[in-house]
Every structure is written in structure tokens, then in C-alpha cells.
């Protein structure tokens, strides 16, 4: 565990105090970092990557096209419901049963609309699938019920597990009596977040050790399944200036604690990221030194202790 613990992120944080992380980050001079999620509570978040913004634009375009179609079609239906009522003496026009011309028109118009939607969507697909020239790769492995992050490239050697934060884990037990509203970031907080640099093309290589999981951070427009025996890829590049904490959850039913394996990404400036990597490496060295507990390969102790501790 000593390897994985950042200086600002204590796993023994008391549940009543919401501030340590934000305060520490602010102290590092990284700007106002606290919560950066961009959803307004009823729509997709525009997000902080070029991909998430492209998806948001596409989503809104398709949404407004649907609204426009709905207004026309529902409008005609409502007009018919009001205008052609038997109780108002409407007389049925039983000759109106077929019109090849009209039917051709209302087949072709949808085709045109669909093609118009498919073209921008196809462009975004090509953009999304272009994982070339990534600057940092992280291998993400799903477990029941936690995530493992193994850094490559500049972060080589950094390797840790990320599990539901302790206070959330206490509060989420059946009939715990703890009001989730008093728990900071209930169910969306982990003991150790994934840290990435902003303005950098980060590629995730996703796999799983047991069942299918899915890694999802809405603000990055990034979701992909982690499947045993497969390595799936996804990438994102957080806009510079958008440093902060971003949260997501496992998005594929993975058993009992599917709802309790959140994803937290701490986006820092490239300089701060470098510092963080150095700290992590120093911690690894310290742990590997004679006398220290070798804990690199083992999952963090908290993962095993928590469920029993909570009983």
C-alpha cells in the first residue's frame, strides 16, 4: 500500500471532511481544481476533451432533429385528434386509403435525414478510433470490484489499484444508517485516483481479470468494455486548463458490487504529472529497499479489509 499512496491522498481520511484533496491540489498551485464534472443533471456533459465535445455536438444535433420530426409528426396527429372527431360530426373520407406519391415522399425524406445524420457521425467514429501517436499509455484492468492502473511510457513502473473510498463503502452497506448526503462524493470517490496529464493524448489499454467491466468517464466521452482475454483501446486528450477531478463508474454489470467500483481521474498539468510520477517511483524504490514490505504486485490491503471491517 505504501507504494500507492500519494502525499495528498490519505486512505484514512475521516468521512466528515470533504476538503483534503481539493486543498492539497490548490496548494500545489494547480488552480481551482475541486469538482470539474460538466453535466447539468439532465443532459450529457459537454466534457473536456475534443471527443466528448464532438459527441455532445452530435448528440444535440440528433436530438434537435428528433424534436423537429416529433413536432411535425405529433403536430399532425394532434391536429387529426382535434379536428376529425366523431363527436364533432366529422365525416370519414373512406377514399383516402392509398397514395403512392405521398408514400414515396415519406420514405425518401427520412432517408435523406438519416444520411445527413450518418455523415458527421461517421467522421467522429474515424476520429475516435484513431489511437495513433499517443503520448502516454495506461493499462487498465478490471477486477471484481476494483480497477488496476499500470502506467507505461513516462510513467513506467507506476502500478496501483483503485477501490471505492472507505467512507462511501461504510455508508453503502445495507441499512448502514449513514445518510449518503453526508458522505463526500458518495460512491464516486476512490482511495487512489488515476492521475493523468492534461493536453496529452492518453491511451488506455483495457482488459479484465474476471468478468466484463466497462471503464467510463462521461466528461472524457470515453467508455469501453474491459473484457477478459481482450485488450480494448480508447484514447482521450483533456484540454489544457481543464485540470481537475473527473468521475465515472463501471458501466457493465459485473456482479454484486458493480455499483461500487467508481473511476476517479485526477487531471494535472504535465509538470505536476511529472512530479507525481517521480513521487510514485520514489515510493516504489523505498518499498523495494531491504526491510520494506514488498507490495508492488499485491492488491492494496484495503480492498480485502474493507468488506469485513464494515460489518
Amino acid at each position: 500500500m505504501s507504494v500507492t499512496r500519494g502525499d495528498h491522498d490519505s486512505t484514512s481520511r475521516p468521512s466528515a471532511i470533504a476538503w483534503p484533496k481539493a486543498l492539497c491540489l490548490a496548494a500545489l498551485g494547480a488552480g481551482p481544481l475541486a469538482e470539474a464534472n460538466t453535466s447539468d443533471g439532465y443532459n450529457l456533459p459537454p466534457g473536456v476533451t475534443s471527443l466528448s465535445k464532438a459527441i455532445y455536438t452530435l448528440h444535440m444535433e440528433v436530438f434537435w432533429v428528433c424534436v423537429a420530426i416529433a413536432v411535425v409528426v405529433f403536430g399532425v396527429m394532434i391536429y387529426a385528434l382535434v379536428k376529425f372527431r366523431h363527436s364533432q360530426g366529422a365525416v370519414p373520407d373512406t377514399t383516402l386509403v392509398h397514395s403512392t406519391k405521398v408514400e414515396i415522399i415519406w420514405t425518401i425524406i427520412p432517408v435523406v435525414i438519416l444520411v445527413a445524420m450518418a455523415i458527421p457521425a461517421a467522421k467522429v467514429i474515424l476520429f475516435m478510433e484513431d489511437t495513433r501517436n499517443s503520448e502516454l499509455s495506461i493499462r487498465v484492468t478490471g477486477y471484481q470490484w476494483k480497477w488496476q492502473y499500470q502506467y507505461m511510457n513516462a510513467g513506467e513502473g507506476v502500478d496501483f489499484f483503485s477501490t471505492l473510498a472507505r467512507d462511501s463503502n461504510f455508508a453503502r452497506q445495507l441499512k448502514s444508517g449513514i445518510d449518503p448526503k453526508t458522505v463526500p462524493n458518495y460512491l464516486l470517490e476512490v482511495d487512489k485516483p488515476m492521475v493523468i496529464p492534461s493536453g496529452t493524448k492518453v491511451r488506455l489499454l483495457l482488459t479484465s481479470q474476471d468478468v466484463i467491466h466497462a471503464w467510463w468517464v462521461p466528461d472524457f466521452g470515453a467508455k469501453r468494455s474491459a473484457i477478459p482475454g481482450f485488450v480494448n483501446e480508447l484514447w482521450f486528450k483533456v484540454d489544457p486548463g481543464k485540470e481537475g477531478i473527473y468521475r465515472g463508474q463501471c458501466a457493465a454489470l459485473c456482479g454484486r458490487d458493480h455499483g461500487f467500483m467508481p473511476i476517479v481521474v485526477d487531471v494535472r498539468t504535465p509538470d505536476d504529472f511529472k512530479k507525481w510520477v517521480e513521487e510514485q517511483k520514489a515510493a516504489v524504490k523505498q518499498a523495494a529497499a531491504p526491510g520494506a514490505q514488498p507490495s508492488n504486485a499485491a492488491p492494496p490491503a484495503t480492498a480485502q479489509v474493507l468488506p469485513t471491517a464494515a460489518k
Binding site: 450529457l44 376529425f84 438519416l114 450518418a118 467510463w216
Partner: protein
């Protein structure tokens, strides 16, 4: 079977003219109406059992934190709610309606294969008793989702083989039901009832039956491979043994997507019967309606990949599945436009079946719009596995399939029983259902877009408000459904006498309206004249 067929439909066989008495009438039933009734009653019971599970789900999700059930039980509820509603409520309801209506609509005395008909029904109570009894075995019910994705589904406890066997039985039942529909329609139409004259409900079922025969064996194969992976150390889906968990998803959704249309095409047929009646005007573009159903059925076989975009797929496959999926909007649009044109310059009255049909038109379209949004691959990455998907498929299944079934029941119930039902109560049932189904499912769009994953027993506090609204809608919708069996029982017991036309002052089309209400035990003992 050929022998059974000829002896059962021979009209000089006197002892078949009247129903047997007591329990024998039902156990040994070969009459299409008796079997249809049993299917419908069975489906209604399953609707309430599946609904009770939904109530547990919505109660737990009423507010954040776990108050009522542990996560494992919650997953058991979501898994079995889906299995029961799909295989126990919606599909048997349509088979029940097919049993009742297809012989009457095509001018036949009964279904072509009456003993197989009996067998295909009586499998179901056993299949679902087996499925529900898994609640009592160690480890409880299956909790890996109705999609049964391995490796998770292989972690199921002792209930696993029971689940697989139950699914095999449901599949066998569906296949037999489908064979019966096809054989009946192909061989027993009255002289002059050529296929293009056949009512839309029978048409929609003919196409549905082919879908069932094509895909139910695929499901059977998929779950059998799960079974051998679990007990016989095969590695079809086990990556460590050289297998492929994604292959299961492909096989499952090759069944699963046509299955979606199996659950909605017969509803299309019902709506196409009801709208013309209460618009007092023939169905607009009847032939193009048939072509539209057939196109949807064909396309349903080539779009399964859209359930799996997030599982990783080559760009070409993403583009193909996206465009094929979007293409389904074209025939679906044709259907909606034709229905609208049917009402256009009609003379509309709003009896309960018409009300349900109109609600179907609006709300199914909303499900269609969210379906179109889900087809857009990049956006699908954000919607996939969230409550947006839950909202989408419940909009097509509840105000789609289930409102379609209810519309059909309210349309034909007086024909079946010979009594009119309580119209006021039925209108209450409609309005409560139509309002609360939206309170229940519309906010789930917001939850999904705001980032709430599906299939979770507990959620972050920012999702509280919409979950509460949705739960309140759920409870009210659930309570409103109690009116449905009340109205039906009341109608069976008595009520105003229904004429053979039932809906006086309208112009219902179809041979069923030439028969008295209730119709004779063997619907058409001599083939009718087809106009």
C-alpha cells in the same frame, strides 16, 4: 401431427363441439380459444410477478443508500424482472392473442396443430415454476442480467442449470407456437382469403413466427454452450481456455435483436386493426404496411452489433451496424405515417382500445427517437449501459408492446366474452397508465444522460431527484394495473350484451366481427365467404 390435425378439425366429430367439463377442459385443451385464454391468463399472472420485482427495484432506488435489499438480491430482481416480462408476460400474451384471433380472422375452425398447441402452452407453467423456484436454492436466482453474458453468468450458483433448462423450455414453447401460427395461416385460410387480403394482425404474426423459428434455436445454442462451459469444462466463452466471451454477445444478440421485434411486430398488427375501426376509415397503405413489417423483420437480423459498440469493434463494422440500424427508422417511419394518415380525415371516437392505440402511437415514437439517437455510434458510447437505454427500451416495451396488448384485449374482450366491459373503469386504467408510464420512464432519460449507469442498486446523490420521480411514477403505474384484471373479471362475469359487431357505429373489418359474441366453440365450422 398430420393425423391429429385431420381428426381434430373434422367437423363431424361430435364430441368436440362442446368444451369438456372441469379441469379436463383446460388440461387436455385443444381448442384455440381455451388455449388462448390460458396463455392470456398466464401472461397476466407473469405480468404481476415481473411487476412486483419492478416495484422492489424502484423501491430500493427511491433514494440513495441501500435500505431494503442487498446488491445481490437487487441484481436477481433486475435479471428475473426482464426474463419474466419478456418470456413470461409479453411473448405468451401475443401467442394468446394469436390463438384467439388468427383462426377467427382467416375463417378457420381452429389452429392447425391443436395438440402441439396444448403442449406449447403447458410447458410454460413448468418453465416458469422452475425459474421462480430458483429463489429458494442456495445462491438465489440468477443475477448476471437477462443477457446472461459470460463470464459473469457462469458465476451463478445452483440455480444456473435450472435457469438454462427453463430457457430451453420457453424456447421450445415459442417455436411450437410459431410453427402452429405458420401452418395455420398457410393451410387454413378460407377460400378467397388470399395473403394480401389477410388482416394485419395475422400478417404481423406470420412474420413474427418466422423470426421466432429463426432465432429461438440460436438462443438455445448459446445457453447450451454456457451450460457445457459451466459443467463440462468446455471453453466456448472462456478466454483462458481459448474461448471468446465476445462471441457469446454476438450469438446472444443475433437472437436478441430479432427478439425485440418479436415483442413489437404483433403490437403493430393490433394497432393497425384498431386505428381504422375507430377512425371509421380503412387502413391507409395496407400493402405498404405489410412490406414495412417485412423490411423491419429482415433488418432486425443485421443490426445486432449495435448492442456491442462499446465492446470494441472494427471501424467498418461500426459504420455498417450504425447505418443498418438507422435504416430501420425508414420502415418504422412509414408505419407511423400510415397510421397517422389512417386517422387523417377520419371520424375518430375514443373508446379504450383507441386510447391505448393513440398512446402507443405517441409513446412508441418517443422510443423510436431515442433508438435513433442510440444508433449514432459515438453518442452510443455515452448512452450505452446507462439509464438512457433503460428509458429507451421501456418506452418501446411498455407503451409499445404492453399498450399494444392491452389495446388488443380491450378491442376483442367483448367479442370473447359476449359482454361489454366497464368503459369508465377502462378509461381510468388508460389515463392512469398513460400518465404514470411517462412519470416512470421519462426521467430515466435524464438520469442516463447525466451519467447514471443501469443495473446499479445504489447511486450517487446527484441522481436522487429523478429517481424519486421515477419511483413514484412506478408505484402509481403498478397500482393502476390492478384495474386491468378487475375489469376483465367483471366482463367475464356479465355486463351489457355485446352484438356481433361489438363496436356499433364503427366499421371494424375482419371476419371475427361476422361471428356472434361470444363466438361458437369452433369458430368457423363452414368456411365463410370472403368479401
Amino acid at each position: 401431427m398430420a393425423h391429429a390435425h385431420s381428426s381434430d378439425t373434422a367437423q363431424h366429430d361430435d364430441h368436440h363441439d362442446q368444451p369438456a367439463t372441469g379441469i379436463k377442459r383446460w388440461l387436455f385443451a385443444t381448442n384455440h380459444k381455451d388455449i388462448g385464454t390460458m396463455y392470456l391468463v398466464f401472461s397476466l399472472i407473469m405480468f404481476f410477478i415481473g411487476g412486483a420485482m419492478a416495484m422492489i427495484i424502484r423501491a430500493e432506488l427511491f433514494k440513495p443508500g441501500l435500505q431494503l435489499v442487498d446488491p445481490v438480491f437487487f441484481n436477481q430482481m433486475t435479471t428475473n424482472h426482464a426474463l419474466i416480462m419478456i418470456f413470461g408476460a409479453v411473448m405468451p400474451a401475443f401467442v394468446g392473442l394469436a390463438n384467439w384471433m388468427i383462426p377467427m380472422q382467416i375463417g378457420a375452425p381452429d389452429m392447425a396443430l391443436p395438440r402441439m398447441n396444448n403442449f406449447s402452452f403447458w410447458i410454460l407453467p413448468f418453465a416458469f415454476t422452475l425459474l421462480l423456484s430458483t429463489l429458494l436454492v442456495p445462491g438465489g436466482m440468477a443475477a448476471g442480467g437477462w443477457t446472461l453474458y459470460p463470464p459473469l453468468s457462469l458465476q451463478t450458483g445452483d440455480s444456473f442449470p435450472m435457469l438454462i433448462f427453463a430457457i430451453h423450455m420457453m424456447g421450445a414453447s415459442s417455436i411450437m407456437g410459431a410453427i402452429n401460427v405458420i401452418v395455420t395461416i398457410m393451410n387454413m385460410r378460407a377460400p378467397g382469403m388470399n395473403l394480401l387480403k389477410m388482416p394485419l394482425f395475422a400478417w404481423s404474426w406470420l412474420i413474427t413466427a418466422y423470426l421466432l423459428i429463426a432465432v429461438m434455436p440460436v438462443l438455445a445454442g448459446a445457453v447450451t454452450m454456457l451450460l457445457t462451459d459451466h459443467f463440462f469444462k468446455t471453453s466456448f466463452f472462456n478466454a483462458a481456455g481459448g474461448g471468446d466471451p465476445v462471441m457469446f454477445e454476438h450469438i446472444f444478440w443475433f437472437f436478441g435483436h430479432p427478439e425485440v421485434y418479436i415483442m413489437v411486430l404483433p403490437a403493430f398488427g393490433i394497432i393497425s386493426e384498431i386505428l381504422p375501426t375507430f377512425s371509421r376509415k380503412p387502413l391507409f397503405g395496407a400493402t405498404s404496411m405489410i412490406y414495412a413489417i417485412a423490411s423491419i423483420a429482415f433488418l432486425s437480423f443485421i443490426v445486432w452489433g449495435h448492442h456491442m459498440f462499446a465492446d470494441g469493434m472494427p471501424v467498418a463494422a461500426q459504420l455498417f451496424y450504425m447505418m443498418a440500424t438507422m435504416l430501420i427508422a425508414v420502415p418504422t417511419g412509414v408505419k407511423v405515417f400510415n397510421w397517422t394518415a389512417t386517422m387523417w380525415r377520419g371520424s375518430l371516437s375514443f373508446e379504450p382500445p383507441m386510447l391505448f392505440a393513440i398512446a402507443f402511437l405517441f409513446l412508441f415514437s418517443i422510443g423510436g427517437f431515442s433508438g435513433l439517437m442510440l444508433a449514432i455510434v459515438p453518442a452510443d458510447f455515452q448512452y450505452n449501459q446507462t439509464y438512457f437505454v433503460v428509458a429507451h427500451f421501456h418506452y418501446v416495451l411498455v407503451p409499445g408492446a404492453i399498450f399494444g396488448i392491452m389495446a388488443g384485449v380491450y378491442y376483442w374482450l367483448p367479442k370473447w366474452t359476449g359482454h361489454m366491459y366497464n368503459m369508465t373503469l377502462a378509461k381510468w386504467h388508460f389515463w392512469l397508465s398513460a400518465i404514470f408510464v411517462n412519470v416512470l420512464f421519462f426521467p430515466q432519460h435524464f438520469l442516463g444522460l447525466a451519467g447514471m449507469p443501469r443495473r446499479i442498486p445504489d447511486y450517487a446523490v446527484q441522481f436522487t431527484d429523478w429517481n424519486m420521480v421515477s419511483s413514484i411514477g412506478g408505484f402509481a403505474f403498478g397500482l393502476a394495473q390492478i384495474l386491468f384484471p378487475m375489469i376483465i373479471v367483471q366482463c367475464i362475469r356479465g355486463g351489457k350484451k355485446a352484438s356481433s359487431l361489438v363496436w356499433e357505429g364503427t366499421h371494424p373489418t375482419g371476419l371475427e366481427w361476422t361471428l356472434p359474441s361470444p363466438p361458437p366453440y369452433h369458430s368457423f365450422t363452414t368456411a365463410p365467404e370472403v368479401p
